[in-house]
Structures are given as structure tokens and as C-alpha cells.
Symmetry: C2
Subunit: 336 residues, 2 copies
Amino acid sequence: MATIEDVAKLAGLSRTTVSRVINKHPYVSSAKKDLVLQAMEELGYVPNSSARSLRNQKTGVIAVFIPRVMNPFFSQLIETLEIAASLSHYQLLVCQTQYSAEKELTYLQLLKVKQVDGVILASFENEWSKIEPFLEYGPIVLCNEFEKNARVPMVLLDQAYGGYIAAKHLLENGHTAIAYCCGSYRSNVSKAREAGFRKALAEYGVPFQEELAFRNAFQVEDGKRVFQQLAAKAKKPTAIFTGSDEVAAGLIAEAKRNHWVVPDDLAVIGFDNQIITELIEPRITTVHQPVQDMAKKAMDIMVSQLASKHSVKQEVHKFQLELVIRESTNKVLVNL
Amino acid sequence: MATIEDVAKLAGLSRTTVSRVINKHPYVSSAKKDLVLQAMEELGYVPNSSARSLRNQKTGVIAVFIPRVMNPFFSQLIETLEIAASLSHYQLLVCQTQYSAEKELTYLQLLKVKQVDGVILASFENEWSKIEPFLEYGPIVLCNEFEKNARVPMVLLDQAYGGYIAAKHLLENGHTAIAYCCGSYRSNVSKAREAGFRKALAEYGVPFQEELAFRNAFQVEDGKRVFQQLAAKAKKPTAIFTGSDEVAAGLIAEAKRNHWVVPDDLAVIGFDNQIITELIEPRITTVHQPVQDMAKKAMDIMVSQLASKHSVKQEVHKFQLELVIRESTNKVLVNL
DNA sequence: ATGAAAGCGCTAACAA
DNA sequence: TTGTTAGCGCTTTCAT
């Protein structure tokens, strides 16, 4: 593998000049520049990445933490983040924490050992106080997460509003026995969403029924499980708010298998407006999240933090959600 | 940020000794070792990743090339690869080529500049002759791809068999006008699958009808489009083989919107046994692919190539596919 | 406009 | 068992 030294020799110039050409510095006569370019070409030279990283104290790599890739919400996030990173000439390192606080801490070492320049946290399991110290080693941006105490930029979706409009929609349709279902128990995303949900209920004088609350539902399978639990209740709800389209889809599938009619026997509302909401029957009412906008913004912020070593401060960017009404909550058939 | 030098000073020892402790070399008295450990602890020292990479000529990072993350097949691949990489203490860099040969070549530079130790190609767009030269810079493993001329390990699914059993299933159900639908036109995956498909047809004396062949169908939207094209034909098929569950799902959705009954008016078979196949109605007959096994094997091979600088040679690992029969091809209702 | 030389942080050959 | 020292390949002062 050719080094900068080899190029310099071949061109009959110094390493410095070659380096100047590589980095497009001024003050290189075009004659010498051509000489260098030619030598580089001839040797098939490319600058060694580790050497540059060591010298420049930066790697050009950004890590993103997610629980797992196989969750349409996070896949979409990753996809958009990778494209955005690439446009700014960064590489994206994907770290799956698998909802494990320990794994998260291990991955955070990447920042400390300077294997990555910054970290985008699209979920976190540890107390913020455990994460905070890593800020010393590089920027951290929260994406789809909120933490009151964190003096870092955070981009997020207005989950409280999402919970609110979803609940309100069910309430407007006359439901008073509404089940609630969410994913990660103690994430701030869940908490905000639940707060919005409760707020709408309160406005309609409908109580939140803890016995109709299901936690830790993430996937299709969980949706099926939730249906079984719900069907076993003495006092059954007439509607259910789920925190995810996958859960809603699983729930509806199971409901149909048990000869329940959605939405007549049970109205179901999802979250995230994934493609699946338009494929199953009835199509799922859901809340659209501008995931791509959020991802782009997060990468934007990360890249500019990396460019200008500005002071770290709290900074909140909120994106708005939108209700998408379909047949899983609506008896009127909109089909075709 | 503390360096090895700082640790050495604090411990009153040499950098070498500290390095030995870091790398768990023998010949360090436990007294000195404790001294070093204590100094490291006190300074919160961690070895700098770029420096090690430069010195050791390896980064601990493996790149994986896929067209895009938001495709359940590739999400699953990425998820499994990342877990496997992590277990072997490697990081995974995700590169989305977006079906662009040019992007692919750009990303391949990662190997040349030594930003990654190896590349797992889970799809490729360029002629192999364009990729081959990069082998000089690090190992390449094909995953879910086949290339006759490539002197590299490849792990793959028996696509020919997959096409064969799918077609055979339709033929056994009495279909003779069978449409064919695939994704990437010229990938070897597609070619093998089509070959298997054609073989089954030939065995039943049924001709392959080029006017019922649809290429470049990847997503739900494409499935919808294919339905429209198909419905416009004068001679309509009674069954269709699609190269993906998403396409099948889109096709079925569109068929239903147009009041076609699946499978009576049109039998549909998917590919990959994604979760969606069990959620829509009718549930989709499909071909199960052991993606996780394949991904693990690919990472296994990559890691061992990286460990032992063995000679690069061709090496094929094939995984078997399996037909999963559901209602989209079968009039008998298996439901419940 | 160009070059000499120091040094980013680490490891390993060699010496002791 | 421990230390000295020479780089890994690059960028950047500082001189010229």
C-alpha cells in the first residue's frame, strides 16, 4: 500500500506538498500539483484513514443507538440517518442496545476511545446521569427522546399531542371504555404519550382504567397477547389505543381470528403510520410521525456540532404529529 | 484525555509495560500490573482507537453493503449481522448503495483507505471485475449473492430451489397461466430464482410467458403497479409468483380493491416469509429463507478470515429454503 | 511556494 | 521482567 512518502518521492517533492494537494490547500503551484496528482494516480494512492484520524483527532464516523433494527420505526430512522450522514461525508455505525442498559454503556465507550466522533441516541436505557459524563468526549444528540436534565440538543416528536389526538378521536366516536397499550414502560416517549392520552380522557370526563393498561407491547406478537388478555377481562373495552402499528396489526389479526369485528366490537388505533396500516383489513387508523424530518434534523445538528466546537446547551426541536383516520376506528367504509 | 504516557508516568513505569497490561501480554509482574491498573483507573484512561488502528493496521470495523435498510429482508440481515459482529468485538458500518453502482464503488473505498477491515456484500451492482481489485485491501464475503468468477467465500440461499418449489406448488394446484415477478433485473439471486421457476414450468410442460413477466418490483407500491398492469392484459394469468412478500402484499391489496378474490381469481405467492404474510387476508403463501443462519455464517467467515490471513479462495455455503403454504394460493381455509 | 521536522497515541523488536 | 526506541501515515507549524 502506497503511502504519502511514496507519492512524494515519485513526484520528487515533499510530503508536505502532497498533503497540501490532498487537502486542497492553497499555495501549491499548479505544475507541482499536477505532478502530485499524477504520482497519486500512478501508485493508486489513497490516504490512510487511521493515520488521518489519529492526526486530526476525528474519525468521520457517527454512531446511532437504537434498541433494534427490525422495528420499522427504527429501520426508517437508520435509513434516513445513513443517507444524511453520507451526504455530509460521515459514516454511520449502527449500535443495537437491545433495551439493555449495560450494552448501551459498552457502546458509549466508542465515544471515549474516539472510535466515533459523536453519538445520536435514538433511545436510551440508562439514567441520564450515567450518560452525561460521556459528553466530555464528544457530542451527543437525542433523537426521538427527551430528557429534562440533559444539556444537549434533542429533536423529537410531540408525543403528548399524538396521544392526545388519538384519544380524542376515540372519545369523539363515543367510546368511554378505552384500553391503553404502550411499549417501553419508563421511556419519556411513552410517558409523554400517556400524559396526552390521559389529558384527552380527562377533558371528556372519562377515567383512565389501570386494569385496561398494557405495558411492554412492541411487536405483532405482543398485540396478539394483548388481545387475549383483553378478551379475558370481565369488563371489556370498546376501543384500544396501541403505541405501535405492529401491535395494532397483531391485535386486529387475533381479534379477527376470534371472530371479533373491528371496529364494531373493538376500535383499534395504531401509531406511526407504517405501510402495514394500509395493507390489513380494516386499514388502521394511526398517528403519522415525520420520522424522516426528525432524522435529518438530528443529523444536521450533529454535523454542525462536529463542525463548530460550540458550547453544548439544551435545545429542543419538536415535530408535529398528525392523525390519519382509517377504518379500524370508523364504521364508514372509505375503501375505494 | 489521558494517554498511555500519562499512565506510565503516574505508575512510574514505561509505556511498554502499560501496553502489555492493556493487551494482556504475559511477563508483567502482578505488582506492576496492579500499579498500572490503578493508574489507568485514576486517570480514566482508555486506549485511543485511531492510534491502535494505525499501529495494528486494523480497525475492528466491518462494513456491510445493502441497497437499503427499509426492506425487511435487509433489516433482518443487518440486525443479525450487528449482533454477530458485536459478539466478536467488531463494529458494523452500514452502507446503503441504493442500487447505485457508483455509490457502491465509493463505499468500497472504505476498504482501500483502511477505514474498515472487511466488507460483507449483501448485494452488488457492479460487474465483479470492478469489485475484484478491492480484494487486495481486505476480505470480501458475499452474503445472499453469488458470483461464479469470484474467488471469495459466499453464503447464500438456494434461490433456484426456492423458485422451483414455489412454481411447482402453483403448478400442482392446476395453474398453467402463471405470471412471474422479480426484483433486481440482473442480480444472480433473481437469475437463479427464475431458472428454478422455469425448470418447474418445463417439467409440467407449461411455457414461460414473457408478456407476463414483471421486473424491478421491490416494494408494496410495485405490487400495486404490477396488479394494474396484469389486470390490463388480454390474457390474464390465474396465478402469480412474486419475488417478495411486500410485492405480494401490495398486489393482493390492490386486487381486493378491484374486487378480485385471492386465490380464486388470482393465486399469489410471496417470498421470504415476513411477518406481513400472516397479517393480511388471505395470508400469503411464501418461501421461508433462513436469513439469520445465513447472516451468522457470513459474519463467522468474515471474522475468521480476519483472524487468519489465509489464502482467499472460492467457497460456497448454501442454505435451504422451504415452502410455507397459506391461503393466498389455497382455497381451503386453514384459519383457526 | 515549498520543505524539514515534530508529534498524534500506540505497539513491538530489541536490548538489558 | 522491564525499558528504549523506532515507526504506523498523516498534518502542520515554522523556516526558507
